[in-house]
Amino acid sequence: MSARDIAAPVLLVAVLAVLPFFASGTMLNFLVSALIVALGAQGWNLLAGFGGQLSFGHAAFFGTGAYVTALLQIRFGINAWAGMAAGIALGAVVGWVIGFLSFRARLRGSYFALVTLAFAEVLRILANAADFTGGAAGLLIRLQPGFGNLQFPDRGVFLWLVLGCILFVLLLTASIERSRFGAQLVAVRENEDAARALGVDVLATKLKAISLSAAITAAAGCLYMQNFLYLDANIAYGTWISVEVLIASIIGGLGTVLGPVVGALALHGLGEATKLVSGQITGIDLAIFGAVLILSVAFAPNGVMGLRRLFKGRAG
Protein backbone atom coordinates (compact mmCIF):
# COMPACT_ATOMS: atom_id res chain seq x y z
CA MET A 1 0.00 0.00 0.00
CA SER A 2 1.23 3.45 -0.80
CA ALA A 3 1.00 6.45 1.52
CA ARG A 4 -1.90 7.77 -0.53
CA ASP A 5 -4.00 4.67 0.13
CA ILE A 6 -3.47 5.02 3.86
CA ALA A 7 -3.90 8.79 4.06
CA ALA A 8 -7.67 9.06 3.54
CA PRO A 9 -8.69 6.33 6.02
CA VAL A 10 -6.31 7.63 8.68
CA LEU A 11 -7.50 11.19 8.20
CA LEU A 12 -11.18 10.24 8.42
CA VAL A 13 -10.66 8.21 11.58
CA ALA A 14 -8.43 10.88 13.13
CA VAL A 15 -11.11 13.55 12.66
CA LEU A 16 -13.69 11.31 14.31
CA ALA A 17 -11.28 10.37 17.09
CA VAL A 18 -10.89 13.93 18.39
CA LEU A 19 -14.68 14.37 18.73
CA PRO A 20 -14.89 12.95 22.28
CA PHE A 21 -13.01 16.03 23.47
CA PHE A 22 -15.75 18.36 22.23
CA ALA A 23 -18.97 16.47 21.71
CA SER A 24 -21.84 16.00 24.15
CA GLY A 25 -22.92 12.63 25.50
CA THR A 26 -25.88 12.51 23.12
CA MET A 27 -23.59 13.24 20.21
CA LEU A 28 -21.22 10.45 21.30
CA ASN A 29 -24.10 7.98 21.64
CA PHE A 30 -25.20 8.88 18.16
CA LEU A 31 -21.67 8.47 16.79
CA VAL A 32 -21.15 5.08 18.44
CA SER A 33 -24.44 3.76 17.02
CA ALA A 34 -23.70 5.11 13.56
CA LEU A 35 -20.15 3.75 13.56
CA ILE A 36 -21.26 0.28 14.65
CA VAL A 37 -23.53 0.24 11.61
CA ALA A 38 -20.59 1.56 9.58
CA LEU A 39 -18.45 -1.38 10.68
CA GLY A 40 -21.23 -3.81 9.77
CA ALA A 41 -21.57 -2.06 6.42
CA GLN A 42 -17.84 -2.45 5.77
CA GLY A 43 -18.35 -6.19 6.07
CA TRP A 44 -21.34 -6.15 3.73
CA ASN A 45 -19.47 -4.00 1.22
CA LEU A 46 -16.58 -6.46 0.99
CA LEU A 47 -18.88 -9.25 -0.17
CA ALA A 48 -21.44 -7.23 -2.11
CA GLY A 49 -19.52 -4.18 -3.29
CA PHE A 50 -16.31 -5.92 -4.28
CA GLY A 51 -17.61 -9.45 -4.83
CA GLY A 52 -21.02 -8.62 -6.31
CA GLN A 53 -22.82 -11.10 -4.05
CA LEU A 54 -25.75 -9.10 -2.70
CA SER A 55 -26.65 -10.42 0.73
CA PHE A 56 -29.95 -9.56 2.36
CA GLY A 57 -29.13 -11.45 5.52
CA HIS A 58 -26.06 -9.96 7.14
CA ALA A 59 -28.11 -9.98 10.34
CA ALA A 60 -27.10 -13.66 10.53
CA PHE A 61 -23.50 -12.59 11.15
CA PHE A 62 -24.27 -9.49 13.22
CA GLY A 63 -26.54 -11.51 15.49
CA THR A 64 -24.11 -14.40 15.83
CA GLY A 65 -21.37 -12.00 16.93
CA ALA A 66 -23.69 -10.34 19.44
CA TYR A 67 -25.18 -13.55 20.86
CA VAL A 68 -21.84 -15.36 21.17
CA THR A 69 -20.28 -12.40 23.01
CA ALA A 70 -23.23 -12.20 25.37
CA LEU A 71 -23.75 -15.91 25.96
CA LEU A 72 -20.11 -16.65 26.71
CA GLN A 73 -20.13 -13.95 29.38
CA ILE A 74 -23.53 -14.71 30.89
CA ARG A 75 -23.66 -18.49 30.69
CA PHE A 76 -19.97 -19.40 30.96
CA GLY A 77 -18.43 -16.42 32.71
CA ILE A 78 -15.88 -15.98 29.97
CA ASN A 79 -14.02 -12.69 29.58
CA ALA A 80 -15.70 -10.16 27.27
CA TRP A 81 -12.65 -9.73 25.03
CA ALA A 82 -12.39 -13.49 24.53
CA GLY A 83 -16.14 -13.50 23.96
CA MET A 84 -15.73 -10.90 21.23
CA ALA A 85 -12.92 -12.89 19.58
CA ALA A 86 -15.10 -16.00 19.68
CA GLY A 87 -18.05 -14.03 18.31
CA ILE A 88 -15.99 -12.85 15.34
CA ALA A 89 -14.63 -16.35 14.71
CA LEU A 90 -18.07 -17.96 14.88
CA GLY A 91 -19.50 -15.23 12.66
CA ALA A 92 -16.89 -16.17 10.06
CA VAL A 93 -17.84 -19.84 10.39
CA VAL A 94 -21.54 -19.06 9.90
CA GLY A 95 -20.55 -17.00 6.85
CA TRP A 96 -18.52 -19.83 5.41
CA VAL A 97 -21.34 -22.35 5.95
CA ILE A 98 -24.02 -20.13 4.39
CA GLY A 99 -21.62 -19.35 1.56
CA PHE A 100 -20.73 -22.97 1.00
CA LEU A 101 -24.36 -24.06 0.87
CA SER A 102 -25.52 -21.28 -1.44
CA PHE A 103 -22.46 -20.82 -3.68
CA ARG A 104 -22.06 -24.57 -4.15
CA ALA A 105 -25.64 -24.58 -5.41
CA ARG A 106 -24.62 -21.76 -7.78
CA LEU A 107 -27.09 -19.29 -6.33
CA ARG A 108 -26.59 -15.77 -7.63
CA GLY A 109 -28.28 -12.39 -7.65
CA SER A 110 -31.72 -12.29 -6.12
CA TYR A 111 -31.68 -16.04 -5.36
CA PHE A 112 -28.60 -15.60 -3.20
CA ALA A 113 -30.17 -12.54 -1.55
CA LEU A 114 -33.34 -14.49 -0.69
CA VAL A 115 -31.42 -17.46 0.71
CA THR A 116 -29.32 -15.24 2.98
CA LEU A 117 -32.50 -13.56 4.19
CA ALA A 118 -33.96 -17.00 4.93
CA PHE A 119 -30.89 -18.05 6.94
CA ALA A 120 -31.06 -14.87 9.03
CA GLU A 121 -34.77 -15.39 9.65
CA VAL A 122 -34.24 -19.01 10.71
CA LEU A 123 -31.59 -17.88 13.19
CA ARG A 124 -33.91 -15.15 14.49
CA ILE A 125 -36.75 -17.59 15.08
CA LEU A 126 -34.45 -20.13 16.76
CA ALA A 127 -32.87 -17.50 19.01
CA ASN A 128 -36.34 -16.24 19.90
CA ALA A 129 -37.54 -19.71 20.84
CA ALA A 130 -34.61 -21.26 22.72
CA ASP A 131 -34.23 -20.78 26.48
CA PHE A 132 -30.46 -20.89 26.14
CA THR A 133 -30.49 -17.65 24.18
CA GLY A 134 -32.90 -15.98 26.58
CA GLY A 135 -35.92 -16.54 24.35
CA ALA A 136 -38.16 -13.57 23.67
CA ALA A 137 -37.02 -11.84 26.89
CA GLY A 138 -33.53 -11.42 25.46
CA LEU A 139 -30.19 -11.25 27.23
CA LEU A 140 -28.87 -8.66 29.63
CA ILE A 141 -25.20 -8.27 30.49
CA ARG A 142 -24.62 -6.95 34.01
CA LEU A 143 -23.29 -3.40 34.08
CA GLN A 144 -19.75 -3.72 35.43
CA PRO A 145 -17.59 -1.00 33.95
CA GLY A 146 -13.97 -2.01 33.55
CA PHE A 147 -11.45 -2.60 30.82
CA GLY A 148 -11.58 -6.40 31.27
CA ASN A 149 -15.35 -6.39 30.84
CA LEU A 150 -15.17 -4.30 27.67
CA GLN A 151 -17.38 -1.69 29.35
CA PHE A 152 -16.13 1.85 29.74
CA PRO A 153 -17.54 4.56 31.97
CA ASP A 154 -16.22 7.06 29.46
CA ARG A 155 -18.19 6.94 26.20
CA GLY A 156 -15.21 8.35 24.35
CA VAL A 157 -13.09 5.29 25.06
CA PHE A 158 -15.71 3.02 23.56
CA LEU A 159 -15.87 5.28 20.54
CA TRP A 160 -12.11 4.90 20.12
CA LEU A 161 -12.46 1.14 20.30
CA VAL A 162 -15.07 1.19 17.52
CA LEU A 163 -12.91 3.58 15.51
CA GLY A 164 -9.92 1.28 15.96
CA CYS A 165 -11.93 -1.58 14.43
CA ILE A 166 -13.08 0.65 11.59
CA LEU A 167 -9.55 1.84 10.85
CA PHE A 168 -8.30 -1.74 10.84
CA VAL A 169 -11.00 -2.77 8.33
CA LEU A 170 -10.40 0.35 6.20
CA LEU A 171 -6.73 -0.56 5.86
CA LEU A 172 -7.58 -4.22 5.31
CA THR A 173 -10.03 -3.30 2.55
CA ALA A 174 -7.51 -0.92 0.96
CA SER A 175 -4.88 -3.64 0.89
CA ILE A 176 -7.36 -6.20 -0.50
CA GLU A 177 -8.31 -3.74 -3.23
CA ARG A 178 -4.68 -3.76 -4.41
CA SER A 179 -4.06 -7.49 -4.05
CA ARG A 180 -4.52 -10.56 -6.19
CA PHE A 181 -7.49 -11.64 -4.06
CA GLY A 182 -9.10 -8.24 -4.62
CA ALA A 183 -8.59 -8.38 -8.38
CA GLN A 184 -10.03 -11.89 -8.51
CA LEU A 185 -12.99 -10.89 -6.33
CA VAL A 186 -13.84 -7.98 -8.64
CA ALA A 187 -13.38 -10.26 -11.65
CA VAL A 188 -15.92 -12.67 -10.15
CA ARG A 189 -18.33 -9.76 -9.67
CA GLU A 190 -17.92 -8.62 -13.27
CA ASN A 191 -18.04 -11.97 -15.06
CA GLU A 192 -17.75 -15.39 -13.45
CA ASP A 193 -17.09 -17.35 -16.63
CA ALA A 194 -14.34 -15.03 -17.77
CA ALA A 195 -12.76 -15.19 -14.32
CA ARG A 196 -12.88 -18.99 -14.35
CA ALA A 197 -11.21 -19.08 -17.76
CA LEU A 198 -8.36 -16.99 -16.35
CA GLY A 199 -7.68 -19.50 -13.59
CA VAL A 200 -9.73 -17.92 -10.81
CA ASP A 201 -11.18 -20.44 -8.36
CA VAL A 202 -14.60 -18.78 -8.19
CA LEU A 203 -16.00 -20.82 -5.28
CA ALA A 204 -12.88 -20.37 -3.13
CA THR A 205 -12.81 -16.64 -3.84
CA LYS A 206 -16.46 -16.21 -2.85
CA LEU A 207 -16.01 -18.30 0.30
CA LYS A 208 -13.01 -16.26 1.38
CA ALA A 209 -14.99 -13.08 0.78
CA ILE A 210 -18.11 -14.16 2.67
CA SER A 211 -16.07 -15.45 5.64
CA LEU A 212 -14.17 -12.17 5.94
CA SER A 213 -17.33 -10.18 5.38
CA ALA A 214 -19.17 -12.16 8.05
CA ALA A 215 -16.31 -11.77 10.53
CA ILE A 216 -16.35 -7.98 10.14
CA THR A 217 -20.12 -7.72 10.51
CA ALA A 218 -19.97 -10.09 13.49
CA ALA A 219 -17.46 -7.71 15.09
CA ALA A 220 -20.06 -4.97 14.72
CA GLY A 221 -22.55 -7.25 16.49
CA CYS A 222 -20.12 -7.84 19.36
CA LEU A 223 -19.60 -4.09 19.79
CA TYR A 224 -23.33 -3.50 19.64
CA MET A 225 -23.81 -5.96 22.48
CA GLN A 226 -21.08 -4.37 24.59
CA ASN A 227 -22.48 -0.91 23.92
CA PHE A 228 -26.11 -1.52 24.80
CA LEU A 229 -25.58 -4.55 27.09
CA TYR A 230 -28.96 -5.87 25.97
CA LEU A 231 -30.25 -7.76 22.98
CA ASP A 232 -33.11 -9.92 21.85
CA ALA A 233 -33.65 -11.91 18.68
CA ASN A 234 -35.35 -9.06 16.85
CA ILE A 235 -32.42 -6.77 17.50
CA ALA A 236 -29.59 -9.24 16.85
CA TYR A 237 -31.05 -11.17 13.93
CA GLY A 238 -33.62 -8.57 12.81
CA THR A 239 -33.82 -7.39 9.23
CA TRP A 240 -33.11 -3.81 10.36
CA ILE A 241 -29.36 -4.41 10.42
CA SER A 242 -29.35 -6.29 7.11
CA VAL A 243 -31.09 -3.31 5.56
CA GLU A 244 -29.02 -0.62 7.24
CA VAL A 245 -25.63 -2.06 6.24
CA LEU A 246 -26.90 -2.38 2.70
CA ILE A 247 -28.28 1.16 2.47
CA ALA A 248 -25.19 2.66 4.10
CA SER A 249 -22.91 0.93 1.60
CA ILE A 250 -24.99 1.87 -1.42
CA ILE A 251 -25.37 5.51 -0.32
CA GLY A 252 -21.68 5.73 0.49
CA GLY A 253 -20.45 4.00 -2.64
CA LEU A 254 -20.47 0.28 -3.46
CA GLY A 255 -17.07 -1.33 -3.76
CA THR A 256 -15.15 1.65 -2.38
CA VAL A 257 -12.94 1.61 0.69
CA LEU A 258 -14.46 4.61 2.49
CA GLY A 259 -18.02 4.30 1.15
CA PRO A 260 -19.65 2.31 3.96
CA VAL A 261 -18.32 4.61 6.70
CA VAL A 262 -19.23 7.78 4.84
CA GLY A 263 -22.65 6.32 3.98
CA ALA A 264 -23.46 5.23 7.53
CA LEU A 265 -22.49 8.63 8.96
CA ALA A 266 -24.43 10.53 6.29
CA LEU A 267 -27.48 8.35 6.71
CA HIS A 268 -27.58 8.43 10.49
CA GLY A 269 -26.79 12.13 10.51
CA LEU A 270 -29.74 12.70 8.23
CA GLY A 271 -31.94 10.43 10.36
CA GLU A 272 -31.11 12.37 13.54
CA ALA A 273 -31.61 15.70 11.82
CA THR A 274 -35.08 14.73 10.58
CA LYS A 275 -36.01 13.50 14.04
CA LEU A 276 -35.05 16.89 15.46
CA VAL A 277 -36.98 18.81 12.82
CA SER A 278 -40.05 16.59 12.64
CA GLY A 279 -40.38 16.20 16.39
CA GLN A 280 -40.22 12.46 17.00
CA ILE A 281 -42.62 11.03 14.43
CA THR A 282 -41.97 7.31 14.81
CA GLY A 283 -40.24 5.82 11.81
CA ILE A 284 -39.71 9.13 10.00
CA ASP A 285 -35.97 8.41 9.74
CA LEU A 286 -36.69 5.12 7.98
CA ALA A 287 -38.94 6.90 5.49
CA ILE A 288 -36.10 9.34 4.84
CA PHE A 289 -33.63 6.44 4.41
CA GLY A 290 -35.92 5.00 1.74
CA ALA A 291 -36.21 8.30 -0.09
CA VAL A 292 -32.45 8.84 0.02
CA LEU A 293 -31.86 5.32 -1.28
CA ILE A 294 -34.19 5.89 -4.24
CA LEU A 295 -32.57 9.24 -5.04
CA SER A 296 -29.10 7.76 -4.70
CA VAL A 297 -29.77 4.79 -6.97
CA ALA A 298 -31.47 7.02 -9.54
CA PHE A 299 -29.05 9.94 -9.63
CA ALA A 300 -25.82 8.80 -7.96
CA PRO A 301 -25.49 5.05 -8.51
CA ASN A 302 -21.91 5.19 -7.25
CA GLY A 303 -22.92 6.85 -4.02
CA VAL A 304 -21.21 9.71 -2.23
CA MET A 305 -17.79 8.43 -3.28
CA GLY A 306 -19.01 8.44 -6.87
CA LEU A 307 -20.10 12.07 -6.60
CA ARG A 308 -16.64 12.98 -5.39
CA ARG A 309 -15.08 11.26 -8.39
CA LEU A 310 -17.50 13.09 -10.67
CA PHE A 311 -16.35 16.49 -9.37
CA LYS A 312 -12.74 15.45 -9.61
CA GLY A 313 -13.28 14.36 -13.19
CA ARG A 314 -14.90 17.68 -14.10
CA ALA A 315 -12.17 19.67 -12.47
CA GLY A 316 -9.75 18.01 -14.81
Binding site: R178, A187, A194, A197, L198, G199, V200
Partner: protein, 249 residues
Amino acid sequence: MSLLSVNGLSRRFGGLLAVDGASLQVPAGAITGLIGPNGAGKTTLFALISGFLEPSAGSVEFDGQDVTREAPHLRARRGIARTFQIVQPFAGLSVRDNIAVGAYLRHPGRAEALVRAEAVAREVGLGSMLDGPASALTVAGRKRLELARALATEPRLLLLDEVLAGLNPSEVRDILPVIRTIRDRGVTILMIEHVMQAVMNLCDHVHVLAQGRMIAEGAPRAVCADPVVIEAYLGHGAADRIKAEAPHA
Protein backbone atom coordinates in the same frame (compact mmCIF):
# COMPACT_ATOMS: atom_id res chain seq x y z
CA MET B 1 4.28 -34.94 -30.05
CA SER B 2 0.78 -33.64 -29.44
CA LEU B 3 0.15 -31.22 -26.61
CA LEU B 4 -3.59 -31.74 -26.66
CA SER B 5 -5.28 -34.99 -27.45
CA VAL B 6 -9.05 -35.26 -27.72
CA ASN B 7 -10.33 -38.83 -27.88
CA GLY B 8 -13.87 -39.79 -28.89
CA LEU B 9 -15.40 -36.80 -27.12
CA SER B 10 -19.21 -36.60 -27.02
CA ARG B 11 -21.63 -34.21 -25.43
CA ARG B 12 -25.37 -34.67 -25.37
CA PHE B 13 -27.91 -31.90 -24.60
CA GLY B 14 -31.16 -33.79 -24.09
CA GLY B 15 -32.00 -35.28 -27.48
CA LEU B 16 -29.24 -33.41 -29.30
CA LEU B 17 -25.82 -34.90 -29.71
CA ALA B 18 -23.86 -31.65 -30.08
CA VAL B 19 -20.46 -33.32 -30.26
CA ASP B 20 -20.38 -36.91 -31.44
CA GLY B 21 -17.23 -38.91 -30.86
CA ALA B 22 -14.86 -36.16 -31.96
CA SER B 23 -11.12 -36.84 -31.87
CA LEU B 24 -8.27 -34.53 -32.71
CA GLN B 25 -4.59 -34.04 -31.98
CA VAL B 26 -2.96 -30.64 -31.57
CA PRO B 27 0.79 -30.85 -32.10
CA ALA B 28 2.96 -28.66 -29.88
CA GLY B 29 4.16 -25.42 -31.44
CA ALA B 30 1.71 -25.40 -34.34
CA ILE B 31 -1.43 -23.48 -35.25
CA THR B 32 -4.28 -25.93 -35.74
CA GLY B 33 -7.56 -24.81 -37.22
CA LEU B 34 -11.05 -26.04 -36.40
CA ILE B 35 -13.64 -25.14 -39.02
CA GLY B 36 -17.15 -26.24 -39.80
CA PRO B 37 -20.59 -24.85 -40.65
CA ASN B 38 -22.69 -22.97 -38.09
CA GLY B 39 -24.03 -25.24 -35.37
CA ALA B 40 -21.42 -27.93 -36.02
CA GLY B 41 -20.47 -28.03 -32.32
CA LYS B 42 -17.14 -26.18 -32.49
CA THR B 43 -17.77 -23.95 -29.50
CA THR B 44 -19.18 -26.89 -27.53
CA LEU B 45 -15.98 -28.80 -28.28
CA PHE B 46 -13.97 -25.82 -26.98
CA ALA B 47 -16.06 -25.78 -23.81
CA LEU B 48 -15.31 -29.47 -23.32
CA ILE B 49 -11.58 -28.93 -23.84
CA SER B 50 -11.42 -25.96 -21.46
CA GLY B 51 -13.60 -27.59 -18.81
CA PHE B 52 -16.70 -25.39 -18.99
CA LEU B 53 -18.76 -28.44 -19.94
CA GLU B 54 -18.38 -32.07 -18.90
CA PRO B 55 -18.39 -34.59 -21.73
CA SER B 56 -20.95 -37.41 -21.89
CA ALA B 57 -18.18 -39.69 -23.18
CA GLY B 58 -14.57 -39.56 -24.28
CA SER B 59 -11.45 -38.00 -22.81
CA VAL B 60 -9.23 -34.94 -23.01
CA GLU B 61 -5.51 -35.24 -22.44
CA PHE B 62 -3.24 -32.25 -22.00
CA ASP B 63 0.50 -32.84 -22.08
CA GLY B 64 -0.02 -36.53 -21.41
CA GLN B 65 -2.30 -35.97 -18.38
CA ASP B 66 -5.99 -36.85 -18.34
CA VAL B 67 -7.89 -33.61 -17.57
CA THR B 68 -11.35 -34.77 -18.71
CA ARG B 69 -13.09 -33.99 -15.39
CA GLU B 70 -10.91 -31.13 -14.19
CA ALA B 71 -12.42 -27.72 -13.33
CA PRO B 72 -11.72 -24.85 -15.77
CA HIS B 73 -9.55 -22.85 -13.35
CA LEU B 74 -7.30 -25.88 -12.78
CA ARG B 75 -6.89 -26.34 -16.52
CA ALA B 76 -6.00 -22.67 -16.79
CA ARG B 77 -3.27 -23.28 -14.20
CA ARG B 78 -1.98 -26.16 -16.32
CA GLY B 79 -1.68 -23.75 -19.22
CA ILE B 80 -4.91 -23.99 -21.20
CA ALA B 81 -6.32 -20.53 -21.96
CA ARG B 82 -9.43 -19.78 -23.97
CA THR B 83 -11.14 -16.76 -25.44
CA PHE B 84 -14.89 -16.45 -25.77
CA GLN B 85 -16.71 -16.18 -29.07
CA ILE B 86 -19.11 -13.73 -27.44
CA VAL B 87 -16.60 -11.42 -25.77
CA GLN B 88 -16.75 -11.36 -21.97
CA PRO B 89 -14.88 -8.27 -20.78
CA PHE B 90 -14.92 -7.22 -17.12
CA ALA B 91 -16.90 -4.20 -18.25
CA GLY B 92 -16.52 -2.17 -15.07
CA LEU B 93 -12.72 -2.36 -15.08
CA SER B 94 -10.01 -0.62 -17.05
CA VAL B 95 -8.23 -2.45 -19.85
CA ARG B 96 -5.16 -2.72 -17.62
CA ASP B 97 -7.10 -4.29 -14.74
CA ASN B 98 -8.84 -6.68 -17.14
CA ILE B 99 -5.54 -8.05 -18.36
CA ALA B 100 -4.04 -8.02 -14.86
CA VAL B 101 -6.62 -10.60 -13.72
CA GLY B 102 -5.02 -12.98 -16.20
CA ALA B 103 -1.49 -11.97 -15.23
CA TYR B 104 -2.19 -12.61 -11.53
CA LEU B 105 -2.40 -16.32 -12.33
CA ARG B 106 1.38 -16.60 -12.55
CA HIS B 107 2.38 -13.40 -10.72
CA PRO B 108 0.91 -13.07 -7.23
CA GLY B 109 2.41 -9.62 -6.66
CA ARG B 110 0.53 -6.56 -7.89
CA ALA B 111 3.55 -4.76 -9.32
CA GLU B 112 4.70 -7.70 -11.46
CA ALA B 113 1.14 -8.49 -12.57
CA LEU B 114 0.65 -4.92 -13.78
CA VAL B 115 3.98 -4.84 -15.58
CA ARG B 116 3.11 -8.12 -17.24
CA ALA B 117 -0.36 -6.83 -18.19
CA GLU B 118 1.16 -3.77 -19.79
CA ALA B 119 3.61 -5.84 -21.82
CA VAL B 120 0.83 -8.11 -23.10
CA ALA B 121 -1.34 -5.11 -23.95
CA ARG B 122 1.43 -3.67 -26.11
CA GLU B 123 1.96 -7.03 -27.78
CA VAL B 124 -1.65 -7.21 -28.98
CA GLY B 125 -1.86 -3.51 -29.81
CA LEU B 126 -3.85 -2.23 -26.84
CA GLY B 127 -0.96 -0.22 -25.41
CA SER B 128 -2.66 3.13 -25.87
CA MET B 129 -5.97 2.04 -24.30
CA LEU B 130 -4.57 0.72 -21.01
CA ASP B 131 -6.26 3.23 -18.72
CA GLY B 132 -9.57 3.45 -20.55
CA PRO B 133 -12.59 1.42 -19.44
CA ALA B 134 -13.01 -1.94 -21.19
CA SER B 135 -16.61 -0.98 -21.98
CA ALA B 136 -15.36 1.83 -24.25
CA LEU B 137 -13.49 -0.52 -26.60
CA THR B 138 -14.69 -1.17 -30.14
CA VAL B 139 -15.53 -4.71 -31.28
CA ALA B 140 -12.00 -5.11 -32.60
CA GLY B 141 -10.62 -3.76 -29.33
CA ARG B 142 -12.68 -6.21 -27.30
CA LYS B 143 -11.44 -9.11 -29.39
CA ARG B 144 -7.90 -7.97 -28.71
CA LEU B 145 -8.72 -7.73 -25.03
CA GLU B 146 -9.97 -11.33 -25.03
CA LEU B 147 -6.70 -12.33 -26.61
CA ALA B 148 -4.62 -10.23 -24.20
CA ARG B 149 -6.30 -11.61 -21.07
CA ALA B 150 -5.80 -15.18 -22.24
CA LEU B 151 -2.18 -14.47 -23.14
CA ALA B 152 -1.53 -12.86 -19.77
CA THR B 153 -2.07 -16.25 -18.12
CA GLU B 154 1.07 -17.35 -20.00
CA PRO B 155 -0.59 -20.38 -21.55
CA ARG B 156 0.99 -23.30 -23.34
CA LEU B 157 -2.17 -23.92 -25.34
CA LEU B 158 -4.33 -21.04 -26.54
CA LEU B 159 -7.89 -21.77 -27.66
CA LEU B 160 -9.11 -18.95 -29.90
CA ASP B 161 -12.85 -18.96 -30.56
CA GLU B 162 -13.48 -16.76 -33.60
CA VAL B 163 -11.25 -13.87 -32.56
CA LEU B 164 -11.53 -12.49 -36.10
CA ALA B 165 -15.32 -12.61 -36.43
CA GLY B 166 -16.89 -9.19 -36.77
CA LEU B 167 -13.64 -7.49 -37.78
CA ASN B 168 -13.26 -5.66 -41.08
CA PRO B 169 -10.60 -6.81 -43.57
CA SER B 170 -8.00 -4.28 -42.47
CA GLU B 171 -8.50 -5.19 -38.81
CA VAL B 172 -8.08 -8.85 -39.74
CA ARG B 173 -4.89 -8.00 -41.60
CA ASP B 174 -3.58 -6.19 -38.52
CA ILE B 175 -4.17 -9.04 -36.12
CA LEU B 176 -2.81 -11.94 -38.23
CA PRO B 177 0.85 -11.10 -37.48
CA VAL B 178 0.00 -10.83 -33.76
CA ILE B 179 -1.29 -14.41 -33.76
CA ARG B 180 1.72 -15.60 -35.71
CA THR B 181 4.08 -13.93 -33.23
CA ILE B 182 2.34 -15.68 -30.35
CA ARG B 183 2.93 -19.01 -32.08
CA ASP B 184 6.56 -18.13 -32.75
CA ARG B 185 7.07 -17.55 -29.04
CA GLY B 186 6.19 -21.21 -28.51
CA VAL B 187 2.48 -21.05 -27.66
CA THR B 188 0.47 -23.80 -29.31
CA ILE B 189 -2.77 -22.54 -30.84
CA LEU B 190 -6.07 -24.20 -31.65
CA MET B 191 -8.41 -21.78 -33.40
CA ILE B 192 -12.02 -21.85 -34.49
CA GLU B 193 -12.32 -19.55 -37.46
CA HIS B 194 -14.74 -18.71 -40.26
CA VAL B 195 -12.50 -16.16 -41.95
CA MET B 196 -10.92 -18.45 -44.54
CA GLN B 197 -8.25 -15.94 -45.48
CA ALA B 198 -6.94 -16.32 -41.91
CA VAL B 199 -7.25 -20.09 -41.87
CA MET B 200 -5.30 -20.37 -45.13
CA ASN B 201 -2.67 -17.94 -43.90
CA LEU B 202 -2.13 -19.18 -40.38
CA CYS B 203 -3.03 -22.82 -39.93
CA ASP B 204 -0.60 -25.66 -40.36
CA HIS B 205 -3.35 -28.24 -40.12
CA VAL B 206 -7.15 -28.03 -40.21
CA HIS B 207 -9.89 -30.20 -38.74
CA VAL B 208 -13.46 -30.00 -40.01
CA LEU B 209 -16.43 -30.57 -37.73
CA ALA B 210 -19.96 -30.97 -39.09
CA GLN B 211 -23.03 -31.96 -37.07
CA GLY B 212 -20.80 -32.91 -34.16
CA ARG B 213 -18.56 -35.29 -36.13
CA MET B 214 -15.07 -34.86 -37.47
CA ILE B 215 -15.45 -35.26 -41.22
CA ALA B 216 -12.04 -34.27 -42.56
CA GLU B 217 -8.56 -33.11 -41.66
CA GLY B 218 -5.44 -32.11 -43.47
CA ALA B 219 -3.55 -29.15 -44.90
CA PRO B 220 -5.85 -26.09 -45.27
CA ARG B 221 -5.80 -26.15 -49.10
CA ALA B 222 -6.51 -29.86 -49.34
CA VAL B 223 -9.37 -29.64 -46.86
CA CYS B 224 -11.05 -26.81 -48.77
CA ALA B 225 -11.01 -28.87 -51.94
CA ASP B 226 -12.38 -31.95 -50.20
CA PRO B 227 -15.88 -32.77 -51.63
CA VAL B 228 -17.07 -33.98 -48.22
CA VAL B 229 -16.22 -30.59 -46.71
CA ILE B 230 -17.84 -28.64 -49.54
CA GLU B 231 -21.03 -30.66 -49.13
CA ALA B 232 -21.05 -30.11 -45.39
CA TYR B 233 -21.15 -26.37 -46.03
CA LEU B 234 -23.24 -26.16 -49.19
CA GLY B 235 -25.52 -29.22 -49.03
CA HIS B 236 -25.73 -32.63 -50.59
CA GLY B 237 -24.62 -32.82 -54.21
CA ALA B 238 -22.96 -29.40 -54.17
CA ALA B 239 -19.50 -30.78 -54.91
CA ASP B 240 -20.72 -32.55 -58.04
CA ARG B 241 -22.60 -29.49 -59.26
CA ILE B 242 -19.54 -27.30 -58.82
CA LYS B 243 -17.42 -29.81 -60.71
CA ALA B 244 -20.02 -30.03 -63.50
CA GLU B 245 -20.14 -26.27 -63.87
CA ALA B 246 -16.39 -25.82 -63.77
CA PRO B 247 -15.70 -26.36 -67.53
CA HIS B 248 -18.22 -23.63 -68.44
CA ALA B 249 -16.85 -21.13 -65.95
